[in-house]
Symmetry: C2
Subunit: 433 residues, 2 copies
């Protein structure tokens, strides 16, 4: 057995630099934990001219992938370069060279996770990706280890820091969506092109990964329904607030009788829900297990050092497995083929905001329709509209199926008294429900 | 290698029954996870006549400890009987018989943890106790695994469900301490004799365990300073609320330059702090690490099945270690001998409520005194008192050392204008501080 372990880094951006810093700053504790030394052997970079804010022997840098992937001295590849196609290609090469792989790349795992796990397993290599979901929060290990004798029914996550920051500004300071996004960009919480974040795609990738682990199923990224926050208006957030709700972009993963529903959508959360208190750029994942009940893991979802701690926890696990000679055994074949939950089996509360003609009998006509469809209300709020002859009515339904609710929306649009359906959002009620 | 693992249970109360249920309900997944079957072989009970709400072959029950502890067929002992002296004795016997031990017993681990770990290590046995702190929350493994490449500076915990339930009732419904305690007793959240909970002793035990793991130090239970909630008045809670704080019983563990401070005390938390939103009987542990920043683990602190999931996660770890042949290796010798942080190195904000004579110059005299002692205020609130000629003044200081603050209290009592010091509490400010 070698008495040190060598790491090859693919990429030297924000997370890569964090990994190097942590190894330097914690070498003593690392050796104590794993019983051998840990070294960075080679670092693949794109641009050798770029000035980098990290202390590193410059001779370790290379632009030639083979010097990392085919280097016989390297035991573990840490992929922090981002992107999907090239990263996938490099990682498959690494497995062929019998190297263990750690990645922080959610896009890659969401798209190619099962394929990469197969390749790892065939080569008796480890593949870990704790950093790919919710940065510094040890949620993947929490799901696969800590709650192993339980049956998880639901995972709800605030897994995108950018949108949570924007929504916090809108909720608490009444900032418009546009201004909040600009502020997030100034602070580095949002990219110049924020599409992947604000349209929910980033969250969808993380939810695909979380639901695979939580339910041990084979959910694909394309199975995840996605709605973003770019159309949210301050007025909806404020009405929600009046009714005791906080607007959050929530990733849902529900599993009942092998029916799986995974979605990302703007949601009015009851203020009593533990996720409602998760603010700014923080992430949190709420897990509901049959035995354990409600648990929540909270922490930073991104950032150089937080994400690097997750990478390092994977590094330590790989090294422990190497010393025990048990690499490549963590993969669990999906327990079942997932069936996407049909709309008549999807239950939740709904917020519905209507523009109605301000005339006698309007509320009565609408109530009658809902009553006929067997949908009842928890709350109703009527407000005079700024437009003449119109009023706004906001309904919060009791739990009902998505199918019923969509049918009601269809019928509502045909009612004379309804001018238009302004908006509708999912509502997650008190945690007792 | 045997193809099944046999468990001996010590005790068949709430947690023991939960363990049996989980094994029955998840046998298939368990086998899948650990690669062998898991069986309950013997259960030590005190009273064979007692009627028990658990499905179990009655012939497994015994009142003779030797039938469990010296049973050559048993591999793992799960201690869920409670108490300290007898449990300690049994566990030491189990190690001599080379059996691995899992315990949910915080009193035992807080008092005898280091001794038991020594015995386990000498016999190459595992000793795990995830269930001893915060029931269903996988916090111990989170501290020792997930954050391993980090340096933890602070752990703050709401680790006692009884007191958190009582404080939630007082905070949110204005219930008196006595009524809230009674309600907690009716709901089974509080014992008939609530002393250990309400005086903070239960929380102190958990904080001793948490601080040992978080800082890798040798803190003893007697090093933990303890203050309970039985003297709290509704009026203080309400004043705190006006100032933007929520009263919680907080366990603090701080470590700076090998100085360690562990305490349990009623604390005004800023409403912005993630722990402020933890309500009712729920527990949460907030961890501040140098690299990861702020993380929080939230969940049920007690209950049959939640606690049993923690026991089962330990069972699975023991079995994995057995199959790998690496039991008894998880123990980390304390990195350093702890030095208790002296009062001049303990910094926090303070809430101070004074009864003062309602006369000109009173506030000025007090302000002058604080100014001389170099203590400044973040907030001041003066209220006419119901007692004639008296006023109440509430100060919230900026961060200052405990030594300075205690000196100021001493001087305050000698001021003529100060009738009495009504109360004072630690304040934890905004998380940015």
């Amino acid at each position: 057995m070698k008495n040190d372990v060598s790491i090859g880094l693919l990429g030297l951006g924000v997370v890569g630099s964090g990994v190097i810093k942590l190894i330097e700053n914690h070498r003593k504790e690392l050796v104590h934990q794993v019983g051998c030394d840990v070294n960075i052997k080679r670092v693949l970079i794109r641009d050798p001219e770029k000035i980098r804010n990290v202390q590193l022997d410059q001779t370790l840098l290379t632009t030639d992938p083979d010097e990392v992937l085919k280097n016989p001295e390297i035991d573990v590849i840490v992929e922090v370069m981002g992107g999907t196609e090239q990263a996938r290609h490099y990682i498959l090469e690494a497995f062929q060279a019998k190297k263990h792989v750690i990645t922080a790349n959610k896009d890659l795992i969401a798209l190619y996770g099962p394929e990469l796990e197969d390749a790892a397993s065939r080569n008796q290599c480890d593949l870990f990706y704790e950093a790919s979901v919710a940065g510094g929060i040890p949620i993947l290990r929490g799901l696969s280890d800590g709650l192993v004798s339980d049956r998880i029914h639901q995972v709800m996550g605030i897994v995108n820091g950018t949108t949570n920051y924007i929504l916090t500004k809108m909720n608490e300071e009444g900032t418009t969506y546009e201004d909040a996004l600009k502020k997030a960009q100034e602070l580095g919480f949002a990219e110049a092109d924020p599409t992947a974040d604000v349209e929910g795609l980033d969250a969808a990738r993380k939810m695909a990964i979380l639901s695979r682990l939580a339910f041990s199923t084979d959910i694909e990224l394309e199975d995840v329904e996605v709605n973003g926050i770019s159309n949210l208006t301050l007025s909806d957030l404020q009405y929600g607030k009046q009714l005791g709700y906080t607007m959050k972009l929530i990733g849902f993963a529900n599993c009942h009788n092998q029916n799986v529903e995974v979605s990302v959508q703007p949601t009015f959360l009851s203020n009593e829900h533990p996720l409602a208190a998760v603010k700014n750029e923080y992430n949190a994942v709420y897990v509901n297990g049959e035995a354990v009940g409600e648990t929540m893991f909270y922490g930073p979802g991104a950032g150089s050092l937080p994400t690097a701690t997750a990478v390092m926890s994977d590094v330590i696990n790989v090294i422990k497995n190497m010393r025990l000679g048990v690499n490549g055994r963590q993969f669990i074949k999906p327990r079942f083929k997932s069936v996407i939950t049909p709309p008549d089996q999807r239950f939740s509360q709904h917020y519905l905001r209507l523009d109605v003609r301000d005339e006698a009998g309007a509320l009565s006509a609408i109530s009658h329709l809902f009553n006929e469809m067997d949908i009842s209300f928890e709350r109703v709020l009527q407000i005079p509209s700024s437009k003449s002859n119109l009023a706004e009515i906001i309904f919060v339904t009791h739990r009902t199926s998505l199918e019923k609710f969509e049918k009601a929306m269809f019928e509502l649009e045909r009612l004379n008294v309804v001018e238009s359906i302004h908006s509708s959002y999912r509502v997650e009620g008190d945690v007792e429900e």
